[in-house]
């Protein structure tokens, strides 16, 4: 495969995982702008394990998921009490603190970054994407999925039917961190080189953007959003210098024309009715 197309395909896969991570937290009515922080932890932890400790790849990827999930559980209780803009600001700060930590932390290369990772192929990235999509499909069919919808709609009503809103949110936050961490590990071992700048605020913001433009009501929306928004700037390359302006204009137009995102639950229901059983 052409190396350019392979690169685009790889970042599409990584972005699908990041979008799922943002979606999971957003689905419980919390907008996190710090998922790049979780991604960075996954990337650096796995890289340290494979390069410096000499662990094999797969256990390192597993730890790359577990480490940010544990951190999310640790900071989650106080942080998740915050709502709206306050939660956004705290997660944004978390992402930036994590990034600057790795910029200065010598054991993982500090400002020089890390190299020497390898072993992740494009096929492997998509194997992980497929595994996570399957997990989300299975989850979506369970009752627990509807339980998370109640948190998006109304906390007080959710409590009135016995839902422990703090616990459900905490689990979703930790799961979102886990998915971001694994995305980080895959990224590090595919890109072969990482530096703290790879995990900046724009990564967190675009993860949320994928979800909002794709549709916040179902995880399929997150996936569609990630695919469309990763491929769109590539498709616009013929515009040269105007590429990013056009990209921005298309985003604004999409938001104005379809604020609920590309995919909605109602649209999905209609599609399901159309499809032969």
């Amino acid at each position: 495969m052409n190396i350019y197309y392979e690169g685009v395909l790889a970042s599409t896969g990584i972005n699908i995982l990041l979008a799922l991570s943002a979606y999971t937290i957003l689905a419980t009515n919390r907008l996190s702008l710090g998922n790049a922080g979780f991604m960075a932890i996954g990337a650096y932890v796995s890289s340290y394990l494979t390069v410096n400790v000499g662990w094999p790849l797969f256990p390192s990827i597993a730890v790359a998921g577990a480490a940010p999930a544990l951190i999310a559980l640790a900071i989650g209780r106080p942080v998740l009490r915050l709502q709206g803009i306050y939660f956004v600001m705290v997660t944004l700060a978390f992402g930036e603190v994590t990034r600057t930590f790795f910029q200065n932390f010598e054991p993982t290369g500090g400002a020089y970054g890390m190299r020497g990772m390898s072993g992740v192929t494009i096929e492997m990235i998509y194997a992980f994407v497929a595994a996570f999509v399957l997990l989300y499909v299975a989850f979506d069919r369970s009752r627990a999925a509807r339980l998370t919808y109640t948190l998006r709609d109304d906390d007080e009503a959710a409590r009135s039917i016995g839902i422990d809103v703090v616990a459900v949110r905490l689990i979703a936050f930790a799961w979102g961190a886990l998915v971001a961490g694994i995305a980080g590990a895959l990224f590090a071992h595919y890109a072969l080189y990482i530096e703290s700048g790879n995990f900046n605020f724009l990564i967190s913001a675009s993860a949320v953007l994928f979800v909002i433009l794709g549709g916040v009501q179902t995880f399929w929306g997150a996936i569609i959003g990630a695919v469309v928004l990763t491929l769109l700037p590539e498709a616009l390359r013929f515009l040269d210098a105007w590429r990013l302006s056009a990209y921005g204009a298309i985003l604004v137009a999409m938001m104005v024309l379809r604020p609920e995102g590309i995919l909605t639950r109602t649209l999905l229901r209609r599609l399901r009715r159309l499809s032969p059983r």
Partner: protein, 251 residues
């Protein structure tokens, strides 16, 4: 026998204001108790204390003899005390049936079972139970609609069905007739009669005097946070203190 719910000297103060003042009463299984009182009498505060939204400043709440004053709303619901809201609170992304399905998880099968993507036997039984509840409130034909698209009266009935889906021992209804037209109120009354026939225990906070007199087996009257009367509807209607509380200012 231990009563289903017992309040002992329950008070709630907000700063200098005593909203609920040393209220004691109990509710036995199978009763339909009405809680009435003029505006600002403390009905909603008392309701919220029982539902776990407020903690009492003083006094004790007992459910089957266990102290429950320190429990939060979710734990109160899990113990089997379900509530509805005065200003309807439905989930905007869920269908009618889904409201009942999520509520059933309240006293459900545990997290692992709820994560099962396959439709098991237990799941089929619960879906059937949910459809039966919808029949009880007359919404079985609209089970697949998005709940917030229902007309107002139907939304009220769905709120009650959602509370029932948690399999409660005690149902707290916060002004279910508020905002209903006459036809809808008749529908509500028939529904309450049906619930009573099925031996649900209900505490009904309500403004609509005709409705309360008609459906309740016992009525509690609050004024300025104090319980001033308790008895059968016929007794309450002739109680001088109650008449004074309602008409005193004007008479």
């Amino acid at each position: 026998m231990t009563p289903l719910l017992e309040l002992r000297n329950v008070s709630k103060r907000f700063g200098g204001l005593t909203a609920v003042d040393a209220v004691s009463f109990s509710i036995e299984a199978g009763e339909l108790v009405g809680l009435i009182g003029p505006n600002g009498a403390g009905k909603t505060t008392l309701f919220n204390i029982i539902a776990g939204v407020y903690r009492p400043s003083q006094g004790q709440l007992l459910h089957r003899g266990d102290a429950i004053s320190m429990l939060d709303p979710a734990r109160i619901a899990k113990r089997g005390i379900a509530r509805t809201f005065q200003n309807i609170r439905l989930f905007q992304s869920l269908t009618v049936l889904e409201h009942l399905l999520v509520a059933q998880t309240c006293r459900g099968l545990g997290l692992l079972a709820e994560l099962n993507p396959l439709v098991s036997g237990a799941e089929r039984t619960r879906r059937k139970a949910a459809m039966e509840l919808l029949e009880l409130v007359g919404l079985e034909n609209r089970h697949d609609e998005i709940a917030i698209h229902l007309p107002y009266g139907a939304q009220r009935r769905l709120e009650i069905a959602r509370a029932l889906a948690t399999s409660p021992e005690l149902l707290l209804l916060d002004e279910p007739a508020a905002g209903l037209n006459d036809t809808e109120t008749v529908g509500l009354r028939e529904m309450l009669d049906a619930l009573r026939a099925q031996h649900y225990t209900i505490l009904l906070v309500e403004h609509d005097m005709k409705l309360v007199m008609r459906v309740c087996s016992r009525i509690l009257v609050l004024e300025f946070g104090k319980l001033i009367a308790s008895g059968a509807p016929a007794e309450i209607q002739v109680n001088p203190e109650v008449i004074n509380a309602y008409l005193g200012a004007e008479a």
